[in-house]
Amino acid sequence: MDELLEKAFGGDTLSIARLISKVERRDPESHEVMRRIYPRAGKAYYLGITGPPGAGKSTLVDRLTRKFCEDGFSVGIIAVDPSSPFSGGALLGDRIRMNIKRKPEWDIFFRSMSAGKIVGGLSETTKEAARILDACGKDVIIVETVGVGQSELDIAGATDTVLVVLVPESGDSVQIMKAGLMEIADVFAVNKSDRSGAETIAESIGTMLERRSTFYKTKWVPRVFLVAAMRNWGINELYEGIRKHRTHLQNDSHLENRRKTQLKVELRRLVEKEIVRLVWQRLNETELGDQLVNDIWEHRLDPESAALEITAGVKMV
């Protein structure tokens, strides 16, 4: 593994790809990979792109990647597409939108991932894969979620800037007042704005954002950009808008605070996962589990009391 890591740190495409696979496969070495990767990660800028299916996220990734490359940055992209809940398979179609006419010196690494059973818009190992790209020297990491609805918001916990992509048909002012997607955006793009209704939705979003930020006195007011990625309209302005958020993050420890909040959530999730694993392992070794299920089935015990009985041992820690 030393050799694989060395080559990956040197930028070797295949080695980076194989490191990501190790983590995706939950290979016995995957923890060791992440342990060795982590000290080198943290330098990159993480941009998340999310929005409903068909909003044009992948095409925007293509356009923004070119802008980052023109400015001399290397770019790592992770694009997540949904897995079938029936077969577990997936058709990953984001790569087909990457049609940049590349200059040879541009450094782009694109990886498709299937979401698996995770419903938050990312896959279980998206964050790890992003960190590998970060540690292997990519300056900008772009993470594209599956097409989301209103409550798949994992991207907000994995990136520094969240770009929410909508289309003119994304809904009226009541949709915009609803919770979820609208609250995690740092920057908005109304894509396909060559269609009618684009100005109306952009205005509705803009008005809502202004009122909120006046009331809550927020330092950052998300801006709404009208773009048409296929026609290359508005890309420069959107790119500048994203860069502006990046600059904002660098002031007053905004980035540090944001990442620390994310890390706390991540740590909590990992601890929860490990505790559940340990408790369940113990439970399977004894007959207590089956016994409790029987008691619940016979209505001698309610599920919550049973859970408290199981976790009583954990409280010792």
């Binding site: 295949l14 696979s21 897995s83 029936f86 077969s87 997936a90 790569r95």
Partner: protein, 130 residues
Amino acid sequence: MARPIKVVMAKLGLDIHWRGVYLVSQFLRDAGMDVVYIGNKFPEQIVEAAMQEDADVVGMSTLGGNHLTLGLKTVDLLGKSDMAGVKVFMGGVIPPKHIPQLLDGGVHKVYGPDTPMETIINGIKDSVSV
């Protein structure tokens, strides 16, 4: 936890006629595989995608007569890129007399029209020992 078999699927070169590759891609997905569909691509681009995606299998669909040229070039480039372990499958309209040449050149299997879907699915599953 095992990752699904990962297949990079391409239309070789400037060939059109997408229906076959779309159909096969969907059936492979239904068979539990992760299929990265990359559209019309040339050998260098197919190899780059296979590398970045760390593909187990590369599938190329061609009905345009470029199987001996671009098809074999792709296999050759994969070998030169330290990816000789990737299994290459070709499908489409390919004259039977060219098949031995393709297999000699390192193509794992060639499937003509009317190949039953099970044959393709099992052919891929058998070729990959994940």
